[in-house]
């Protein structure tokens, strides 16, 4: 390569970078920022789904000093299909979380989900064995696929969708808790608290699955949805997680952790590290780290156990080998 050509390429790259920065400045892609100086995460060890989970969860939640008095809380678990295996957030964790939040002063709890593939939500609720946890009159289940809808202008513009119809039960909540199942995902790499919010998009309007979001970009849609409906807290079910061809056909992976966080990006970054992935390589996480929450480990305070990289990272499909963290991370 001669000097002129090298200089030309260098100048072109510099101009492109400058143009990118200028474009972001002139046409910002998000109108909100939920990043705070510090975020808090707690990793809880839990060997199995048992009655002890409620005590464990309560102790974990108390570390965060949440002000929930009189609040209407929406728990958004990940309940996709009536399939065997670790597909859905475990009902014992959902039920335990609902009771803990009531004990912490919440006025009422709505467990809301709009399954992405299965149109018969009752079938998913039955298969997940959630019904026994709905006995308390302050805890109700809301089918977000068929809730009353409100047209909402999106607070970020990555997908180009501009606006979405969203369920009133979600918009009227004071405190949104995303409760993902820790899984790999054959389109998005991982499905954690941010991806879990696809479930608030109503099937009644966008179908089963919510395919329009795929055409507009999965990562881009995740960013737009989470900018518009902020997640206040995360309880990630990583006791039995899923690796390989997730989110439906993968295999069980015993991680034996529950991750709590007051920041969805910090929660997902921590989960990704527990899975042996580099969070910076997950597109919606690296971009979300600019405005949805804290991605960098030095801005995350661990209230309980540290996120060690597992000895054996989660298995991924060949297309996602790039997610694997380097050994020196």
């Amino acid at each position: 390569m001669n000097v002129d050509r090298r200089r030309f390429l260098g100048s072109a790259a510099g101009m492109a970078a400058t143009a990118g920065v200028a474009a972001d400045w002139l046409w910002p892609r998000h109108s909100v920022s939920y990043r705070r100086p510090r975020s808090f995460v707690a990793i809880l060890n839990a060997a199995e789904y048992s009655e002890k989970i409620e005590t464990l969860l309560m102790d974990g939640l108390r570390l965060f000093r949440l002000n929930l008095l009189g609040k209407a809380i929406l728990l958004k678990p990940n309940m996709v299909e009536d399939l065997p295996g670790p597909v859905n957030t475990n009902a014992n964790i959902i039920g335990a979380a609902a009771r803990c939040f009531l004990r912490l002063g919440a006025a009422r709890i709505a467990i809301g989900e709009g399954p992405g593939h299965q149109r018969d939500t009752e079938l998913v609720v039955q298969a997940a064995d959630l019904k026994p946890h709905l006995a308390d009159r302050h805890i109700e289940f809301v089918d977000l696929n068929r809730d009353e809808l409100v047209r909402v202008k999106l607070r970020a513009n990555y997908s180009g969708l501009g606006e979405l119809w969203l369920p009133r039960s979600v918009l009227d909540s004071d405190f949104v808790v995303s409760m993902p199942k820790v899984k790999t995902h054959h389109w998005a790499g991982v499905t954690l608290s941010l991806k879990n919010m696809f479930g608030i998009v109503p099937g009644m309007k966008y179908g089963w699955p919510k395919n329009l979001l795929h055409w507009h970009g999965i990562h881009e849609s995740i960013l737009d949805i989470c900018a518009t409906v902020p997640i206040h807290f995360v309880i990630a079910d990583g006791i039995t997680a899923m690796e390989g061809n997730g989110p439906l056909q993968g295999t069980a992976r015993e991680l034996r952790k529950i991750v709590l966080a007051d920041d969805p990006v910090a929660a997902d970054a921590t989960c990704a590290r527990l899975m042996g992935f580099d969070p910076l390589r997950v597109q919606h996480l690296s971009e979300g780290g600019r405005f949805l929450g804290n991605l960098r480990a030095d801005r995350i305070t661990m209230l309980a156990e540290r996120a060690e990289v597992p000895i054996c990272p989660f298995a991924v499909l060949p297309d996602f080998h790039y997610l694997l963290a380097r050994a020196d991370m």
């Binding site: 399939l83 018969d120 939500t121 009752e122 068929r146 089963w208 395919n211 329009l212």
Partner: protein, 248 residues
């Protein structure tokens, strides 16, 4: 009927719900309702035009080319496309079924070539997406080389669109799968669709209707109007015009 006509858009389509401004998957359902209730022909004709124009996004030549040449993560024939849930997305089983049924019903006495071609394309798409072992998932049968399991509701609904087609091995296998699954289903919505579907295939449904009635009880626990309406149609199956029946 008055409300149904009021909510129809000038282009012939219907929104997914009152207040939405885009045509949607409900258009096929609305047209079937219009036919069952002997609604105005011009309204039906406009709806027919919209259905003939609408297609899944993968039906565009550029996407067909992409799925044929570079993107093989999902196994399907891109030349066979149906209808989307909402414009701008791909074809899926249930919106395709409702559109095929409506087209078959509306053109039963006078079917032109264009409607026949579109029906064949939709039926072809449904048959292309049958799960291994019978039945239908939401849209695809194999993703990343792994077969997807069939869904009860999607299978029951898909069979409705194929009731007048030749009983191919795929249809027979799907019917067998549904009969077997219907004996253990405990959900109102899926069981109601099973009854509506098995009835048009002249399978016995009285025992399923009895179970559905027990599941419904006084109806207080059913908070979804679509489920309630489907359940009532299923319970009345055989006593009134079947809204999804296609004349042979």
């Amino acid at each position: 009927m008055r409300l149904l006509l009021k909510w129809q858009f000038p282009d012939g389509s219907w929104p997914a719900f009152q207040g939405d401004s885009e045509g949607s998957w409900t258009t096929g359902l609305a047209l079937s309702t219009l036919i069952a209730m002997n609604g105005p022909a011009d309204s039906g004709a406009r709806s027919l035009s919209w259905l003939l124009e609408e297609r899944g996004k993968e039906g565009h030549w550029l996407w067909r080319w992409k799925f044929k040449t570079t993107d093989h993560s999902v196994r399907f024939d891109p030349d066979r496309f149906g209808w989307p849930w909402t414009s701008g997305s791909a074809s899926w089983v249930i919106p395709t079924v409702f559109s095929v049924i409506a087209l078959k019903q509306f053109t039963a006495c006078n079917r032109r070539e264009r409607a026949e071609k579109r029906i064949r394309l939709g039926v072809g798409m449904l048959l292309d997406r049958v799960c291994l072992g019978g039945g239908w998932n939401a849209g695809n049968s194999v993703v990343y080389g792994v077969p997807l399991p069939a869904h009860v509701e999607a299978t029951a609904i898909a069979l409705l669109a194929l009731q007048d087609e030749k009983r191919t091995p795929a249809i027979q296998a799907s019917l067998g799968w549904l009969k077997q699954r219907s004996s253990s289903i405990e959900s109102v919505e899926s069981l109601a669709w099973c009854i509506l579907s098995l009835f048009v295939y002249q399978e016995p449904v009285e025992h399923l209707k009895a179970r559905l009635a027990t599941l419904i009880g006084d109806g207080h626990d059913i908070r979804n109007n679509a489920t309630l309406a489907t359940a009532i149609l299923a319970l009345k199956c055989g006593e009134m015009i079947h809204p999804f029946e296609v004349l042979r």
